[in-house]
Amino acid sequence: MRTFSGFTFAAACVALAGSATAANLEVVVHDLNAQALLDAVVYAEPISAPLPPSREIAHATIDQVNKEFVPLVTVVRTNTEITFPNSDDFRHSIYSFSGAKSFTTKLYSGKQAPPVLFDKPGLVVLGCNIHDMMAAWVVIVDTPYFGKTTAAGTSVLKGLEPGDYRLSVWYPGPQFQPSVREVHVGPDGAAVDVKVDSSGSSLPELRARERVHKH
């Protein structure tokens, strides 16, 4: 259940923002081979309208289970505190050299690690100093309209005021260079099909390992 805490939070935000006339933006992401991509990061920023005000601090959690970050891909709005609980029997030491948020924790177990505030938009790649193979992506966006695609490659951004949006789609890879396009969202919302280059991504590899662990 904790896995979906981010979504719960996001859904709550959308619900709050689109209280009057809100529409949904449905984005379907495929790779170049027309395969639906899971965990592609999708977010939309209004081009002319001001961003809806954000609450003071949001919260998110990235767990560590079986030497894996769970989830592997996280999208948060700026000023979100992420907690890194340790579900393994051994200790981890989380770090990031990313420009958006550079930090490191001491070796810890359980919930000893203090939450980290991500206050700048950008990509943060998380690693563990003890376990080189652990990696996770945190994308910090400056908009309340964001999401990750499901296994079907779809992500529905909800509660959008009709208008023009800059839609960014990024599949976790070596470089943070999202695929950006402008989308007009009507009162009935909009649907966009996006193709991204997923080659060079180490995500499927990480996920495969995770699957092995789960089984």
């Binding site: 050299f97 990313s98 790649v125 998380l126 690693g127 080189d132 193979m133 070596p174 060079g200």
Partner: protein, 805 residues
């Protein structure tokens, strides 16, 4: 050039054979070695290639391992993530120094060189070997290594990703490919290692090598003038050594190619074989030397005894049979040696026998003529050296009456006599150097260093010893001898002359019946005279210098002259008349008598024919020698002469001395029978001097007997001689022969002969031999002689002749 010596041939054969075999073996081993060496080098190169690749990999592993430590360093990653180039470069330099890397680079994910310890100022730039990064583009952190040039230097490059935790770049580590690197590789592969770089524009360039500069230059020259795409092999001569070369292309980037060259000197590979070759050569030389030695020994083993045998054969050739060949061996040479020894003994034995036969008279056991000659020569040789002051004397003798003994009593008796004589001479001449039977009844004694008295005494003793009769089956046989003595040096300088002179002396002794006679040069003068006579005598016949004189035979009964004896006279242009005694014996000796007899017969028969035509029937007597009797054609020749001059055979009388028959009585009888059959008269001349057996004479067809003049001259006042004359006359008459006396020189003799009943007389008392004309004149003055009627009518003439001879 032909090699004559067996030893040399054996040695050459063996040594050449061995040398050939060894040469072949050496060539084979050499070829095998060479092949093996190539093969080995190839194998070494293959192994080296694998080892080399493995080493490069291992190097890469080590490099990346080391680099990975840095890549994992938190601070370094932090520096990288903050893009702090100065920090990154210093961290790389620091770490590079620690791990011995010549170059350390940080390359970003986009392939940009962000930091370079080798050329810090040359950043950012594109990394020259992107494929090095691509090889592990995935983020797994596997490593790779390759060769490449950085800032003009060669490096083995390794790359490791820097993870944060996803790759954020690469650390590229470069291990300098320099001579030290090559040396390290060589140590591990045992191969020479060079790294060369090919540049399309500049060609080959050496980066590092384990060989010296010259070889390096040679190596570069021998490389193909293009990039090498795959591992390949070639051979090249580097600094005079043939190298097998393996080219391993290691990188191909920026149109620069780096090739690892593994090479191995064949000479080095052959070095081990060189030792083997050296050992082989030493072995070959040793065995060659041994074989030379061995074949010398074998050859000597064969040729030394052969030389010995050859030496022995040479000794045998020279007549030295005393030493045997000393080769004690069981093999063929030993058999040869022992055969030679047997041969030597056989030859020695046979030669001894031959010598005995050659030098010994088998009948008497005395030395023979050859032996005597040799002994004499030896003695003379010794005397010449002065070793013998008394000189050398020889006694030469023959038995006076041996011929008659032999003829009358047979050869077995003769042999017995010879043996006895030999024994007696041997006994007396015991001190002689040599007693020999020279042949027939001829004996010789050699006295070396004996005084004249000893010689004379020995001769006298021999004469005395042979005077006592030799008994044969109780019958005494009378021989007796005449001895000629010659003394070296005065009677002859050499053996031949000495023997000849002794012979002359012996004949002199026989002639004057002195028994023993020393050589006198006077005899030799006669001899010389004889020799010169031979030529003159021949001329005499041709120049008609010969004349026949005729001495009348006067009948003692009738004083008539019925017959004449033809006597040969030589009217020598310078010497005047030469007595027959001076040349007849000589002519008999040389055989020239035949010619003389021919001449005499022809002349006598011609004269007789002439007289006949003039009505004078005078019988002519001609002397025939023993040699003439040997002439089978004589009867025919005489018959022809008689016929041609129309002379009745009865007018020719042939006078033959006793010795004339005795040479070969059987043959003589045949010839005489044939002559008698012609109707000739035959007379025995000089009867009484020989030893003719009466029984033999009786068989001969002889009509006349002429008593020797010696008896006639001695018969006056000598009872013995007159008895002989009388008995001879009686004997002749009893045999039906006419008896003629020769040498009647006075009336006393004439009368006595008449008294004794002798038929005819011949002598100076009546007439000397006269030429034909003088004879005719003499005949005319002695009336009655010329008429020459029948024998019966001669009686009438006797009275008128008696007082006037």
């Amino acid at each position: 050039m032909r090699i004559q010596r067996l030893r040399t041939r054996i040695i050459i054969f063996f040594v050449a054979l061995l040398a050939l075999v060894q040469l072949a073996a050496f060539a084979l081993v050499n070829a095998a070695n060479s092949h093996n060496a190539r093969h080995k080098v190839d194998e070494e190169l293959s192994v080296g290639e694998r080892v080399f690749e493995r080493l490069l990999n291992q190097n890469a592993q080590n490099l990346t391992q080391d680099a990975r430590v840095l890549a994992g360093d938190f601070a370094f990653r932090e520096a990288v993530s903050t893009k702090d180039t100065a920090t990154i470069t210093s961290a790389l330099a620091n770490h590079g120094a620690r791990i011995g890397a010549g170059a350390m680079l940080f390359v970003g994910l986009d392939g940009e060189v962000l930091a370079d310890t080798l050329a810090p100022q040359k950043v950012p730039r594109r990394f020259e070997y992107p494929q090095l990064l691509q090889q592990h583009g995935n983020a797994k952190g596997s490593s790779t290594a390759d060769l490449g040039a950085l800032s003009g230097k060669a490096f083995q490059l390794g790359a490791v990703p820097v993870l944060a935790p996803l790759p954020i770049g690469w650390i590229v580590v470069g291990l300098p490919v320099d001579d030290a690197f090559a040396r390290d590789l060589r140590q591990l592969t045992s191969l020479d290692v060079s790294f060369v770089q090919y540049d399309a524009t500049l060609g080959w360039r050496s980066l590092a090598s384990t060989v010296d500069k010259d070889s390096e230059a040679d190596l570069l020259r021998s490389l193909p003038a293009r990039a090498v795409n795959s591992s390949s092999s070639l051979a090249a001569t580097l600094s005079g050594d043939v190298h097998q070369i393996r080219l391993l292309p290691l990188s191909d980037g920026h149109n620069l190619q780096i090739v690892a060259v593994l090479h191995r000197s064949l000479a080095e590979a052959l070095a081990t074989f060189g030792r083997l070759r050296k050992t082989l050569s030493m072995l070959a030389f040793a065995s060659l030397a041994l074989s030379i030695l061995g074949s010398i020994v074998i050859a000597l083993n064969i040729t030394r005894p052969l030389s010995k045998i050859a030496g022995a054969a040479a000794r045998i050739e020279q007549g030295d049979y005393s030493r045997s060949v000393e080769v004690e061996r069981a093999d063929e040479i030993g058999v040869l040696a022992s055969s030679l020894n047997h041969m030597r003994q056989g030859i020695a034995e046979r030669e001894r026998k031959i010598l005995t036969l050659a030098y010994q008279d088998p009948l008497t056991g005395l030395a023979n003529r050859s032996r005597f000659s040799e002994e004499l020569e030896a003695a003379i040789g010794l005397a010449r050296t002065g070793a013998n002051a008394l000189g050398v004397s020889i006694l030469l003798m023959d038995l006076d009456r041996f011929k008659y003994v032999n003829d009358a009593l047979g050869h077995s008796v003769g042999d017995h006599v010879l043996k006895q004589v030999a024994r007696r001479i041997e006994q007396i001449a015991a001190a002689a150097s040599c007693v020999a039977r020279l042949g027939g009844d001829e004996f010789a004694v050699l006295l070396s260093g004996a005084s004249a008295e000893v010689v004379a005494r020995t001769a006298q003793n021999i004469i005395a010893a042979l005077e006592s009769p030799i008994l044969y089956q109780g019958q005494p046989l009378d021989v007796g001898t005449s001895i000629g003595i010659a003394h070296h040096p005065e009677h002859g300088a050499d053996a031949q002359t000495l023997v000849r002179n002794a012979d002359i002396a012996m004949y002199a002794a026989k002639r004057n019946k002195s028994g023993c006679q020393s050589y006198d040069p006077h005899y030799d003068t006669n001899q010389q005279e004889h020799l010169s006579l031979l030529g003159e005598l021949r001329q005499a016949v041709e120049a008609n210098e010969l004349r026949l004189y005729y001495q009348p035979k006067v009948s003692l009964h009738s004083s008539n002259v019925n017959a004449v004896e033809a006597l040969l006279r030589w009217h020598h242009p310078k010497r005047g008349i030469v007595a027959p005694a001076l040349f007849i014996p000589f002519a008999e000796h040389t055989g020239y008598i035949k010619v003389l007899t021919q001449w005499v017969l022809a002349e006598a028969i011609r004269q007789c024919g002439e007289w006949c035509r003039n009505g004078l029937r005078l019988q002519i007597s001609v002397n025939i020698s023993a040699r003439d009797l040997m002439n089978r054609e004589l009867p025919d020749q005489i018959a022809a002469l008689l016929a041609s001059h129309d002379v009745p055979p009865v007018l020719l009388c042939l006078e033959i001395t006793e010795s004339g028959f005795m040479e070969d009585p059987a043959h003589a009888q045949k010839v005489l029978d044939r002559l008698a059959a012609l109707g000739l008269r035959l007379a025995i001349d000089d009867y009484g001097t020989g030893y003719s057996s009466l029984s033999y004479i009786m068989k001969l067809p002889v009509q006349e007997l002429k008593i020797d003049r010696s008896f006639i001259s001695r018969m006056i006042g000598n009872a013995d001689s007159s008895t002989i004359v009388r008995s001879t006359i009686e004997l002749g008459h009893s045999l039906g022969m006419k008896v003629v006396a020769e040498g009647v020189e006075d009336l006393e003799g004439w009368n006595l002969l008449r008294h004794l009943g002798c038929d005819d007389a011949q002598g100076y008392y009546m007439s000397p031999p006269l030429p034909a004309e003088a004879l005719m004149a003499w005949m005319r003055t002695h009336d009655g002689f010329s008429a020459a009627p029948e024998m019966g009518s001669a009686e009438t003439a006797l009275a008128s002749q008696a007082g006037n001879p």
